[in-house]
């Protein structure tokens, strides 16, 4: 029931007085309305913009946030108003909905922002008024298409393979995304080349060549050099067959693959050759065989795997199917009408070309598409008049659906271009996110260095530790708790790589669990530890093979293979990790570490918490880790 009608309910109840004298039974007692019926003005503060409205207005829609008791959660006792920390511009539309009963969609707003606001206020988007519903639907569909594309691009083939994929999966990936491996790329270009060769051969073999010595007639090249063409054809077909069989083998779902369009094209392209081989040299059948050779031209469609433009065109035609259908239907109607008229108009003429109505179809089509070959021409005056009307209407009928098809094509083409750009941007975005994550870890490690983890009284706390925000303190405390829980410590990649390097040298491992990694209470703020090495954070391809290391007498640089119990560090992904310890120069200062080093990143660590705000600049150069603690498990 429309909520606006709620205002008429008292009237409807009053009108029930007409039934009373006629009632057979006594009336039930009316419900007692306990709460005060007096209407009051409510204040709604949305991000500073104050709105005022009657309580009744909001009560009209009791299944939304503002109409139900849910809004009490947002009530601010001090200021006696309801406070919402949302977009005030959008709230205007929401409130108007309560007032007028119609929800309007503001055209200049982002559709997702609008949807989110509606979801927050508990309003179903379906009640958008008719005036704005179409616009809303179009924008929503566009947005969804865009998102679907982005998802596809995101999970598209550029992501690295999981390490334990079967050869079949890898083969399939190579076929679908040739850019992933060089072999796939080579194969891709080779098949493309052979498609071109095959098509050109098909074309050239019909060109007339100079006749053989002794004959007069011009021969098509195919017959003159039949052996050469046959060899070329064989080679192409072999390659295509091989490719098809490989794809069939690698396909995750063979049935689905066999039903797909590209697979059908592949089959149709190579079948004529095999049929030609199998079939005997029979006179009757060879005629049919010649027809089959026509299907060889379908090889040109195999190019659609190589060309995105072709795919877009195909997709456009598919999406404009209804417009094309309309065009076809209206053309057919018009053709039949005009053909009939022309036939009867030209019936009287002697030796006329319009021998039957189907014969007149050809004239009508040629005229309506403004081709005008001139092989069939009306002679009577009536015929000429109707012929001119026919050509004029032809232009109209054909011109109508064309803009729709064109706009569809343009939209799809631009979307495709956008998808490519998105993929490129995705890489940049990923790099930035990785950097941010590193920054967060570095912040924590720095915090530890600065003595934040130690329990000390406020006097000796370093200033820089004190200056951290409450949020950081709590977050670091949380990470510290995790360390204590698992009895491991967070560390950075470089320290970790050092660890792995000396493992194979076979030092005794010591179990140390104390966590304090430096003397507490330094005089200066953020004491600078000895510079150890240049750190390239962003592109660090540090190994994260984990080993156990213990008190170091000497530190040697060894290139070791990944230890069996290798684990990954916080942020580095296994793919990036390569042993690259060339540029380390370990100084003897390391040896003078008082406290035993023990620092192992824990396997069970979750990826560093995504804290978007904290992006410390990579503290290249100073990574004050003179104490690295390691404990072996």
């Amino acid at each position: 029931m429309a909520a606006g009608v709620a205002t008429w309910l008292p009237f409807a109840r009053a009108a029930a007085v007409g039934w009373l004298p006629l009632a057979k039974k006594t009336m039930p007692k009316p419900p007692i309305d306990k709460k005060s019926r007096s209407d009051e003005i409510l204040f709604v503060n949305v991000s500073g913009l104050r709105f005022q409205t009657w309580k009744n207005t909001l009560d009209r829609y009791p299944d939304t946030l503002l109409g139900s008791s849910e809004k009490e959660f947002f009530y601010n006792e001090d200021t006696q108003e309801y406070f919402f920390d949302r977009d005030p511009e959008m709230f205007r539309h929401v409130l108007n909905f309560y007032r007028t009963g119609k929800l309007h969609y503001p055209r200049h707003e982002c559709i997702q922002a609008f949807d989110e606001e509606l979801a927050f206020y508990g309003i179903v988007p379906e009640i958008i008024g008719d005036c704005c519903m179409e616009e809303y639907r179009d924008r929503k569909k566009e947005n969804q298409e865009r998102l679907a594309e982005d998802n596809e691009a995101g999970e598209g083939g550029d992501a690295p393979l999981p390490p334990n994929s079967t050869s079949r999966e890898r083969l399939w990936r190579a076929f679908e995304n040739p850019h992933t491996s060089t072999m796939a790329l080579v194969f891709y270009y080779v098949t493309g080349f052979f498609i071109a060769v095959s098509v050109i051969a098909n074309v050239v073999e019909t060109v007339p060549c100079r006749p053989i010595k002794g004959t007069v007639k011009d021969l098509p090249c195919g017959e003159k050099y039949s052996l050469a063409f046959f060899c070329m054809d064989t080679a192409c077909v072999l390659i295509f067959t091989f490719e098809y069989l490989m794809r069939l083998f690698a396909a995750p779902s063979r049935c689905k693959f066999m039903r797909s369009v590209m697979s059908v094209i592949d089959v149709v392209a190579i079948m004529p050759y095999y049929i030609g081989l199998i079939m005997p040299e029979n006179e009757d059948v060879s005629g049919a065989f010649v027809t089959l050779r026509v299907f060889r031209v379908f090889r040109i469609f195999k190019f659609s795997r190589h060309s995105q433009g072709l795919r877009i065109l195909g997709y456009t035609l598919k999406s404009c199917a209804s417009e094309l259908g309309f065009l076809l239907f209206s053309l057919t109607m018009a053709i039949i009408i005009f053909a009939t008229v022309m036939f009867y108009a030209e019936k009287g003429t002697k030796g006329t070309n319009f021998t039957s109505i189907p014969a007149a179809f050809w004239y009508t089509i040629v005229t309506m598409t403004t081709l005008g070959y001139g092989d069939m021409v009306p002679n009577t005056i009536a015929g000429k008049i109707f012929g001119s009307i026919c050509s004029l209407s032809g232009v109209l009928v054909i011109a109508l659906p064309v803009p729709v098809i064109v706009s569809n094509f343009s939209r799809i083409y631009h979307q495709n271009q956008r998808a490519d750009k998105m993929r490129a941007q995705q890489k940049v975005r990923m790099a930035r996110i990785r950097l941010a994550k590193k920054g967060t870890t570095n912040a924590f490690l720095q915090y530890k260095d600065d003595g934040g983890l130690q329990d000390h009284d406020s006097d000796s706390t370093a200033l820089c530790v004190k200056n951290r925000s409450a949020f950081e303190h709590q977050h670091h405390h949380l990470l510290h708790c995790l360390e204590k829980t698992t009895n491991h410590e967070f560390t950075d990649e470089l320290t970790y790589s050092e660890v792995c390097m000396t493992e194979s040298v076979g030092y005794r491992t010591s179990r140390s669990t104390s966590l304090s990694s430096h003397q507490g209470g330094s005089s200066s703020c953020c004491p600078r530890r000895a510079k150890r090495r240049a750190i390239r954070l962003a592109n660090s391809t540090v190994s994260v093979s984990r080993g156990s290391m213990q008190e170091l007498d000497t530190l040697q640089v060894h290139k070791t293979s990944v230890a069996p119990q290798s684990r990954s560090s916080l942020n580095a992904r296994t793919e990036d990790l390569k042993l690259n310890c060339d540029d380390r120069d370990f100084t003897a200062a390391i040896i003078s570490i008082p406290t035993p080093p023990a620092n192992t990143p824990d396997e069970s660590l979750p990826p560093s918490p995504a804290i978007p705000g904290i992006l410390r600049n990579s503290r290249s150069g100073t990574f004050p880790h003179d104490a690295v603690k390691i404990s072996s498990l």
Partner: protein, 225 residues
């Protein structure tokens, strides 16, 4: 013959004018002017104080009533279509259009085809704030379709059928076809004192006052607003 010729001439001029408009492309003419006239019809009620005198509502109640009224009918008057539509929202199962029509007639005291806010409030004032007698009077006015001072069996039959229509098809027990008729017979038996086939206002009020049920249910409407 001359009539024929006149008609022919008229048709010819029409065709010629149509052809002219077809050629110049002014076939569809703007009809904004017609719409413009209708929308300027707007009705403003009398002042709040005057209404307060005329009815038994307080100022606040009148304000609430008017705000609701104006929201639904920005032009200030309700026509019968809107009235029927609004009323049908409350009775989705049956057909309430006939009863709504009778109600409309009862509210539209000056018989101009539309109910303004004053009519609306006047009617509500009687029903909700009036004495028992006033209410009974109003009910009688509702039943008396031709406003001649007495209710005949046919009028009652119409009213009864319209009320039963509001129930719709799905009732328990099943609706018999002669249920309205039976009900009317009952009513007349109760109300018609002198058995002359019509119920006058005095008979009506007298019979109602004697009936405890009716008197009690009349109190129901004191707290609707």
């Amino acid at each position: 013959m001359s009539q024929c010729r006149k008609r022919c001439k008229r048709q010819l001029t029409k065709v010629a004018r149509y052809f002219y408009r077809f050629v110049t492309g002014t076939l569809t003419q703007d009809s904004i002017e017609d719409d413009f006239e209708l929308s300027t019809v707007c009705h403003r009620p009398e002042g709040l104080d005057k209404l307060q005198e005329q009815t038994k509502f307080t100022k606040k109640e009148l304000q609430v009533l008017y705000r609701g009224f104006k929201n639904e009918c920005p032009s200030g008057v309700v026509n019968e279509e809107t009235f029927k539509h609004i009323y049908s929202q409350f009775f989705p199962q049956g057909d309430s259009s006939t009863y709504a029509h009778f109600l409309f007639e009862a509210f539209d005291t000056n018989k101009n085809g539309s109910v303004s806010f004053e009519d609306f409030v006047a009617g509500l004032s009687i029903i909700l704030r009036g004495s028992i007698n006033d209410r009974l009077n109003w009910a009688f006015n509702l039943y008396d379709l031709n406003k001649d001072g007495c209710i005949t069996k046919e009028e009652m039959m119409d009213i009864m059928r319209s009320i039963y229509d509001m129930m719709g098809k799905y009732t328990y027990p099943c609706m018999q076809d002669d249920a309205p008729r039976e009900h009317v017979e009952n009513f007349f038996q109760k109300m018609d004192r002198n058995q002359d086939g019509v119920v006058t206002i005095e008979e009506f009020i007298e019979s109602c006052q004697k009936d405890e049920n009716i008197m009690q249910s009349m109190q129901l409407f004191d707290n609707v607003i």
